[in-house]
């Protein structure tokens, strides 16, 4: 009985403090929420009997530690997640048109895909860029390309996510410089840079520098943004690519949170106060087809991170303990066979992300196992999110699956297994060591191998691939990037180099080199100064390559 009284007291405190603080400033979308046939839809359902203490401790209330039920007290009753389609290809002009199209169709945030030379710090005229310019994203060589990319898009009115890691500081600097040109102060900018180098070493591959200087760059960004770009998400600690590389759901969370721990450690060791930057850390996860496992995965991730921040790093602010995340549906679950079936897969994955409490979402297009998505495919993907948001009703009640025996058991199991990995990695000496000695890669590869073997043997069924197959004609309408594009991009780059003041550029690059040599100093100011003078991405990265050296992959098979 006493137990129940305490619980009712907790509930009142949540309503009067946590919830009210938010609803006073941001009223919910409707005054009353109902199901499709007008039954009441509660904001949040709680148990009527049972072990209240365990409920409060493990599940609790949304917007409150340990955040199992979500990071905001109103979740999607307040506002929907940000619908953010990752896009970018060809030149800045073409990508700019795609962004304008997506904004017109109701997308609420931008997400920039860069081509591989940009992601690895090479200009388009570098011989190594042959065949790659503009292919998997837009080519950015200098500020001039950024000016075109965001032409007609006021940067104080969109939030922009940039999938950029090793050269994240440079692209962020270009974005800040561009905002300045538009007359916008940096403290108004909202968005995210991925800036997560550790997962590049283990899964995604666009690394440049070795771990130590890479962690310095990341810490420098944390520090610079906490003062000058306070609304910016300085990192998006990503499990997405780990999962794509074939990991299990448990490994996805474990290795991502282990990366997060490494970044927090690096920043704290550099002298930053944990609460000065932890609130701007964000995460990025995958959503696969196993609906219940995925929902449990997101809930477990929030609960573990809250504990890590509170107990391990002694964070004081509630915001520092919140795991806010972006989700992308699982690219590796898409099939080239019967591609329209992918729309259904993406719908299941969208539900997983939303029932798991995501803050933003990219839904893959049906044709991404074949090539770049067409405009029509992208529209269907966006419509999938809109249907789940506006028609499915799952947004009316927060964390609606809480208390399900299955969901709670899976959440607990995932949490337990993630802690086992975190302890193991700690024993190895942290994530950098665990990557350098190949432990993490081996774990992922073993899972990937097992998964594929199950498909080969028919034990795991992939509809349209190893069962229910048909004879089909190859698809015809695949978006192609113009093979002449690189030539045009190189000509543009040459023109920029012609027009800029090369003496000033050389000065700025020399200054950057000097600061790179002093590990106590922050690299952001000299990078910002260099991009403003149209120093290219490749020039800046080359200086840093010379000073920092380059990472070499440790091959594990």
């Amino acid at each position: 009985m006493q137990n129940e009284e305490r619980f009712q007291q907790h509930r009142k405190e949540w309503e009067n403090a946590t919830l009210k603080k938010v609803t006073d400033r941001f009223p919910e979308r409707k005054t009353e929420f109902k199901t499709s046939s007008w039954l009441p839809a509660e904001r949040v359902d709680i148990p009527e009997s049972g072990d209240f203490e365990a409920f409060s401790e493990k599940i609790g209330f949304p917007g409150e530690y340990p955040f199992t039920r979500g990071v905001q007290p109103t979740m999607y009753r307040g506002r929907f997640w940000t619908m953010r389609q990752y896009a970018g290809f060809g030149t800045a002009e073409e990508s700019n048109q795609r962004y304008k199209y997506l904004l017109k169709e109701g997308q609420t945030g931008l997400s920039v895909a860069f081509d591989l030379p940009t992601q690895i710090g090479y200009d388009s005229d570098n011989p190594i860029a042959e065949g790659e310019v503009g292919k998997v994203g837009v080519a950015i060589d200098s500020m001039q390309d950024m000016e075109v990319l965001f032409d007609g898009i006021p940067l104080d009115r969109v939030s922009t996510s940039m999938t950029i890691n090793a050269p994240a500081a440079i692209l962020l600097a270009m974005y800040i410089a561009l905002a300045e040109k538009q007359g916008i102060v940096a403290d108004q900018l909202t968005g995210t840079i991925q800036n997560d180098i550790l997962k590049e070493y283990m899964a995604r591959g666009t690394y440049i520098f070795p771990p130590k200087p890479s962690l310095r760059l990341i810490t420098n960004i944390f520090e610079y943004c906490s003062k000058s770009v306070p609304k910016w998400n300085t990192i998006s600690i990503s499990g997405y690519h780990i999962r794509e590389a074939g990991s299990t759901a448990v490994q996805e969370i474990a290795f991502t949170l282990a990366d997060g721990i490494e970044y927090v450690k690096a920043a704290v060791n550099a002298g930053l106060d944990v609460d000065s930057f932890a609130g701007r850390l964000s995460f990025f996860f995958n959503a696969h087809n196993d609906l219940l496992e995925e929902i449990a995965k997101f809930r477990a991730a929030r609960r573990i991170w809250a504990k890590v921040m509170k107990e391990k790093f002694q964070a004081q602010k509630s915001k520092s303990m919140m795991l806010r995340f972006h989700t992308q549906t699982g690219g590796s679950t898409l099939t080239a066979q019967q591609p329209d079936n992918n729309i259904v897969r993406v719908t299941i994955q969208t539900l997983a992300a939303v029932l798991g409490g995501t803050q933003s979402l990219h839904t893959n297009s049906r044709d991404e196992a074949l090539g770049l998505p067409t405009e029509e495919s992208v529209r269907i993907a966006l419509r999938t999110q809109q249907i789940v948001a506006h028609e499915s009703g799952v947004t009316n009640t927060i964390d609606p699956l809480a208390g399900s025996f299955t969901i709670e058991r899976l959440t607990d199991t995932i949490e337990e297994q993630v802690w086992q990995y975190l302890n193991k990695i700690e024993a190895i000496g942290g994530m950098v060591r665990a990557i350098e000695n190949g432990y993490v890669q081996k774990e992922i590869q073993d899972a990937a191998y097992r998964y594929q073997q199950e498909i080969e043997s028919g034990e795991r069924i992939i509809v349209g691939v190893n069962k229910f197959t048909i004879q089909e004609n190859p698809p015809t309408d695949i978006l192609k990037v113009d093979p002449q594009l690189r030539k045009r991009q190189i000509a543009k780059l040459a023109a920029v180099k012609q027009q800029r003041n090369s003496e000033v550029v050389a000065q700025k690059l020399a200054e950057l080199r000097r600061i790179a040599q002093n590990s106590e100093q922050n690299l952001m100011p000299p990078i910002l100064a260099a991009v403003k003078e149209y120093a290219t991405l490749g020039e800046i990265c080359n200086i840093l390559r010379e000073e920092f050296g380059e990472y070499r992959e440790s091959i594990v098979l």
């Binding site: 992601q119 190594i128 790659e132 899964a203 591959g205 590389a245 590796s332 090539g371 190859p474 695949i478």
Partner: protein, 130 residues
């Protein structure tokens, strides 16, 4: 006993998607071949150099960034220019069907796209091995 077939699995271009390449490498190894894997971000020059040094019979190229039309034929050209045109080159990854005839014309002997069972790759190797 005849010499074991040696296969180089290589990742030309800049993309880091190595799940497929590593899977194929490991599965071919399990099937009894000698397999060498280059790691990601290899230039065509580096791949050809390794192939010749390692005296391989096959090269399996994996690429998912869309640079296959440029980089796959380049590997074949370089092999031929170094008198190693007898090494059989295979391709895999996200390769649009429409590009496959062009690649075959340029000397890539087979292209295996996502969803291909490993036994199809093995069957191909067995059918063309010298």
């Amino acid at each position: 006993m005849s010499k074991k077939i040696r296969i180089l699995i290589a990742k030309p271009g800049l993309d880091g998607h190595d799940r497929g390449a590593k899977y194929v490498a490991r599965a071919l190894k399990d099937a009894g071949y000698e397999v060498i894997y280059t790691g990601i971000r290899q230039t065509p020059e580096a791949i050809v150099k390794t192939a010749i040094q390692e005296d391989v019979d096959f090269i399996g190229l994996s690429l998912l960034s869309g640079a296959h039309n440029e980089l796959f034929p380049k590997v074949v050209e370089l092999l031929r220019s170094r008198n190693a045109g007898d090494i059989i080159v295979l391709g895999g990854g996200v390769i649009p069907e429409a590009d496959i005839p062009g690649l075959k014309e340029k000397g890539i002997q087979a292209v295996f796209t996502p969803g291909t069972p490993i036994r199809d790759i093995i069957a191909f190797i067995e059918s063309v091995k010298r």
